[in-house]
Symmetry: C2
Subunit: 275 residues, 2 copies
Amino acid sequence: MKIGDPRKAYLIPEGSKLKLSDRDPSSIALCPKGSKSTTQELFDGLRDRIQAQQKVLFAEGKQRVLVIIQAMDTGGKDGCVKSVFSRVDPQGIRVMSFKKPTEDEMAHDFLWRIHPHVPANGEIAVFNRSHYEDIIAVRVKKIFEDAVWKRRYRHVIEFEQMLAEEGTTIIKLFLHISKGEQKRRLEARLVNPMKHWKFHPDDLTDRGQWDEFQHAYEDLIERTSTKHAPWYVIPANKKWYRNLCVARLFADTLEDLDMKYPEPGWDVGSIEIDD
Amino acid sequence: MKIGDPRKAYLIPEGSKLKLSDRDPSSIALCPKGSKSTTQELFDGLRDRIQAQQKVLFAEGKQRVLVIIQAMDTGGKDGCVKSVFSRVDPQGIRVMSFKKPTEDEMAHDFLWRIHPHVPANGEIAVFNRSHYEDIIAVRVKKIFEDAVWKRRYRHVIEFEQMLAEEGTTIIKLFLHISKGEQKRRLEARLVNPMKHWKFHPDDLTDRGQWDEFQHAYEDLIERTSTKHAPWYVIPANKKWYRNLCVARLFADTLEDLDMKYPEPGWDVGSIEIDD
């Protein structure tokens, strides 16, 4: 079993247009003969590649990698993080979930709570939600006047460019599901007491604004996909396919960094260890 | 005794040129008849204005104020902070001294260690040294290649503009002393055992590069003085005059914010307190 290149298929190039309704969230185009069971080996291989790359990233200590994941509610952010990144040495990866801002966070600029969590040299950071909520939610829920989220496009572009220029590799993933798939997943949460905690009545309010959210995401992704920090729109109705795509995309991204285990800074032959 | 308007006299307007050698560090032009003893009352009055404004800033909780102070060694950063801000309610002011970056800080973008310390609503933050060290020192001491500090001009402008647009008032002060005055102050540190801790042999290395530092500061101030975050060059050979200027500049800045104590959000008359 093989999978095509999601970085080619799902990249939203800088300056291009995006219409989410033209993109099939149920697509499995890069692995058309696959299924959950028949792709397990392929998926394990991709995770092995990620695991190996993370080790050299950490040892080399020169690169920083940031993965930003956004989606509608039930879009699969948690599941994707768990599946794709769970085999990585936890010392080298930090997953940060950004919730509704606290009062203290609201009392600062919107990037204040984000900045401390960007990755250090040798680290991978995964943002489960991010500063993009401060554009999307602010816009759709009309939390501030339009001027605020509009200028934040520029703020995030500039912020991410600074991070990139200072040495951070950034990829941004939008997990794209359909409204029907969301219905099924919300119902599953209501039926299953083990999933009750994942449900919140506010989810239904957001669902009532589905079209506004989709439009806001289109606008956001068009305006903030840059060469330094590109957006990828991943078909995410099928969880196995979404995970495969994200794993291949991430493995390829890491391998392109061309990292190496560091040479020792001393003459190995000259070192003697006393009895 | 009176003092003229330092915001007019010492502002470096956006896009203008700066030659530090044309500016007399011993000037007392805004208070030409003053001296340390004859201006104490004037200074106390300015501190009262600052104190009063800080109270309403805190109560209103809508504005954030950031003061950035840079200078050559012995330029008077510590002394100025102590004199001008020591009467302000410590709950409403945070002074942050940025030292040589740690290894952990160096493993991030240069704004990473700065961002967590920007002021919240109702707060005054004072940066004793700042992200500007990551341009000045990096440039003069050739810590990284030129491209790094050059693009940081843009990074700091964009960062500060974002802070400003999100509600932060920023003023930046360069305390301007002469090379001769630095010599006197360094000698005083060597003579006085109480000041020995303030001396470090590295200061002499920096002093050896006086002209390079002056030139780097000229370039820096020219390029990063913006409407949103202006630089002021304060004559600082005379400590009493430097303190007067900074106090008046800061008092005026706060008063221009036109802050008000908030109205209660409930009907005061309707509240009854039980026995």
